[in-house]
């Protein structure tokens, strides 16, 4: 049995000195020196940029010269900006796709890949994981060809199967969202599968044996053993998927440019467009602050709902 003594640095050493030679604990900088790189980088690349963004969101700045203080004007404008509302709505759709489609599908695939006796298991795992390794530019190029209205693979398949395939995948506002969702599904499912797979491999086999002895079927075992055992992993996957989907940029930017008619414009694309196409840095910063507040607030809510960080009872 070991006992951990908690106290100020150097306290244990001070206690070990002979009686009568009590020394005042000496302050040492070593621990602070060791942890300082993190705090230094945190301040430099996190706190300062966040602070500057906050300040910038209260100004009007074209990217050169001195920003002009406008107070809360940018936030007032955002509240009535139809484009921003559209971007928020589209992002909400992408978040729902991530949470309601990508995460459950990843769990099901992980469960399938974890099945005993599965042949060429490693090949399957690699196949599912590969999309995340492929460059987003390539993904966009390939899917641009797949979804081309006149000459794309998707329409060619539809033509071969049903005799007609003039679907405007990227030109129709609703279908463009569906196309982005399909790309998200293809790209992220395998990545999340890896987390679930790791979680599944840590579920004690005795629990499954106990469930089998109790006569539980596959579905019952999944809902009463697998899912509760995967709760910490699920919580992690849900929160990271939410944050990732809320900041989605590459897929709509490369595949549809936010179009047609802003139907796939995400909030991060809105920020990029305001800053780097319209030279409205203050406005872009305000949108970024709003996104930060929303993502932070909802992540905290998810944390609370999923009990992340709470000790197991």
């Amino acid at each position: 049995m070991t006992t951990t003594v908690v106290g100020p640095p150097g306290a244990a050493r001070a206690r070990s000195t002979p009686k009568g030679e009590e020394r005042r604990p000496r302050r040492t900088w070593a621990p602070y020196l060791f942890v300082s790189p993190f705090y230094l980088l945190y301040v430099l690349f996190m706190l300062i940029p966040v602070g500057v963004s906050l300040w910038l969101s209260l100004t009007e700045w074209v990217g050169l010269g001195t920003p002009r203080w406008v107070g809360l004007r940018n936030y007032r404008l955002l509240a009535t900006d139809i484009s921003f509302h559209r971007a928020l709505g589209n992002t909400a759709v992408f978040v729902l796709v991530a949470l309601c489609l990508v995460v459950p599908l990843a769990l099901l695939i992980a469960q399938a890949l974890n099945t005993r006796g599965l042949r060429v298991r490693d090949l399957w795992r690699t196949a599912y994981f590969v999309p995340i390794v492929v460059s987003p530019i390539l993904v966009a190029l390939v899917f641009g060809l797949v979804f081309d209205r006149q000459f794309g693979l998707a329409n060619a398949v539809l033509r071969a199967l049903f005799g007609s395939g003039g679907v405007d995948w990227l030109g129709d506002p609703d279908l463009a969202r569906v196309s982005i969702a399909l790309v998200m599904l293809w790209r992220w499912t395998g990545y999340l599968t890896v987390f679930f797979l790791a979680g599944l491999q840590n579920v004690p086999r005795e629990l499954y044996e106990a469930a089998a002895l109790d006569g539980a079927g596959r579905l019952r075992t999944f809902t009463t053993v697998t899912l509760p055992a995967l709760k910490p992993v699920t919580a992690f996957v849900v929160v990271t998927s939410f944050i990732g989907a809320a900041q989605i940029f590459e897929e709509p930017y490369l595949l549809t440019g936010g179009g047609p008619a802003e139907s796939t414009l995400s909030v991060t694309m809105f920020i990029y467009r305001a800053a780097f196409q319209r030279q409205q840095f203050g406005y872009a910063a305000a949108a970024a602050v709003v996104l930060f507040v929303l993502v932070f607030g909802l992540s905290r809510l998810f944390n609370r709902l999923l009990g992340i960080g709470r000790a197991a009872s």
């Binding site: 000496r26 074209v62 990217g63 050169l64 010269g65 940018n74 404008l77 009535t80 900006d81 139809i82 484009s83 641009g144 060809l145 081309d148 209205r149 006149q150 000459f151 405007d168 990227l170 030109g171 129709d172 463009a176 490369l254 595949l255 549809t256 440019g257 936010g258 179009g259 047609p260 008619a261 802003e262 139907s263 467009r273 305001a274 780097f276 196409q277 319209r278 030279q279 409205q280 406005y283």
Partner: protein, 450 residues
């Protein structure tokens, strides 16, 4: 006796810290320093040139001997190539950093409006107005239609590479085969013949781009005919004037053309979409800017060399001209650098000379921006192989008086975003042309000036 190592004396530690801080500050200042800003007046000079197009790189490199001979500098070029929007983004980023800006920079016309936001152009770019006035006759010789897109408040911040007028490209062999006369006078007659050709042969005589990811391309299809009809996006003050009867007429014309098959949708003017359509003979003609021959046709269908011809656009029965303006690249000089003067002189001694403008056409296909150069007999004699040996310059010269000015606004990208979406809705029949234009004007008002 203490078993702890002796702590170093405090003053020594502070001295060390001070030394480190001093060294760090010196290093940072050295790294961030913009260097001397004393203008160079002669001798060897290496100009940093940023462009998105290797054609310009070759043009300037070949122009160095002429520039060396006629001035006090001996020029060298250090070229950086980037995507057209990236050139502006990187330029602004470097300007904020205070170092690493180029001396000479090429702005694709669609990216230039970013420089018009706030006082960016005034702060960052050299104002060529006094330089132009210092050269006798130059101001009158430069085509106002091509200084307009790169000007603000009467000041010229870049020189255009081209007078990119819009013409009608067509397959002569297929026009003959389908019994289409080449000299049809109006768009309305053209559309009638086009509907027949589509019905009988599945071919189209006009194209609109519907690539959702590139509003600029979507807008281009409409823009060409709008400006030809006499409409515009912005006036000289940058005020939106899109919502006009001319715009409605042009949009209705395109929408009806799509229904009849006279007009076909392609996903991309430059890539796989148009290539397949051209190769399959589904597109046998299209209105486009003159540079499209090199960047659209020659690159996509080189095997069709000799079969293409160029003619003036048919007129609209309701009025307007026989051409429009589309595209261009302006070259500007970054202000307040040691090489500002050298770069300005380089531009004047390569880009703006008579010989330079002749060379621009023969080497890159870009039309002169100086009126007087149009009289050069070498240009008139130039025969184009891709267009069956057609002497194109005579046609271009005849169109010159009709080239409309193209005024840009800092809010142009906003217009392109909202107009692109509404054009698609109109093409697909979700909005009437009138509704699409009204909606565009509303959306633009909502977003512009934020």
């Amino acid at each position: 006796m203490s078993y702890l190592p002796a702590a170093p004396a405090s003053p020594a530690r502070r001295a060390l810290l001070r030394g480190a801080l001093g060294l760090g500050t010196a290093a940072a200042l050295t790294a961030c320093g913009g260097g001397s800003t004393t203008p160079r007046t002669s001798g060897d000079v290496t100009l940093g040139l940023w462009t998105h197009d290797p054609g310009y790189e070759r043009f300037f490199a070949k122009g160095i001997p002429d520039a060396d001979r006629t001035g006090d500098f001996r020029y060298h070029l250090r070229v950086t190539r980037a995507g057209a929007p990236d050139v502006v983004t990187k330029l602004l980023a470097q300007a904020v950093a205070g170092r690493g800006t180029p001396d000479l920079v090429g702005f694709e016309i669609g990216s230039f409006p970013r420089m018009l936001r706030g006082d960016i152009a005034e702060r960052l770019l050299h104002d060529f107005t006094p330089d132009i006035e210092a050269v006798p006759g130059l101001k009158e010789d430069l085509l106002p239609a091509r200084t307009a897109p790169f000007s603000r408040d009467g000041r010229v911040y870049a020189f255009d590479s081209d007078t990119p007028m819009v013409v009608y490209f067509h397959r002569r062999d297929l026009f003959e085969k389908y019994g289409l006369p080449e000299d049809v006078a109006t768009w309305e007659e053209f559309a009638e013949a086009g509907a027949r050709v589509h019905r009988d042969h599945g071919a189209s005589m006009c194209v609109v781009s519907t690539v959702g990811s590139d509003p600029g391309q979507v807008v281009q299809s409409f823009q060409m005919l709008l400006y030809q009809r006499g409409g515009a996006f912005f006036d000289a003050d940058g005020t939106l004037v899109l919502d006009s009867p001319e715009a409605e007429e042009v949009l209705r014309f395109l929408c009806e053309g799509l229904r009849s098959g006279f007009v076909v949708e392609v996903s991309d003017y430059y890539g796989a979409g148009i290539q397949t359509a051209l190769k399959a003979g589904r597109v046998i003609g299209l209105p486009m800017a003159i540079w499209y021959k090199n960047y659209g046709l020659v690159t996509n269908v080189p095997e069709q060399k000799g079969r293409w011809r160029v003619r003036a656009l048919p007129r609209f029965a309701g009025g307007g001209g026989v051409t429009a303006a589309l595209g261009g690249t302006g070259f500007g000089v970054v202000e307040g650098k040691p090489n500002t003067r050298a770069a300005t002189e380089f531009l004047f001694r390569t880009w703006l000379t008579h010989e330079g403008q002749v060379r621009r056409f023969t080497e890159t296909g870009y039309l002169p921006t100086r009126r007087s150069v149009y009289e050069d007999s070498r240009l008139g004699a130039y025969a184009d192989d891709f267009c069956g040996g057609q002497r194109l310059f005579g046609l271009y010269r005849s169109l010159l008086p009709d080239v409309p000015p193209f005024h840009q606004s800092p809010d142009q990208s906003i217009l392109y975003d909202v107009l692109g979406g509404n054009l698609l809705r109109a093409y697909h029949g979700d909005l009437s042309p009138r509704q699409a234009l009204k909606q565009t004007a509303r959306d633009f008002r909502d977003q512009a000036g934020r």
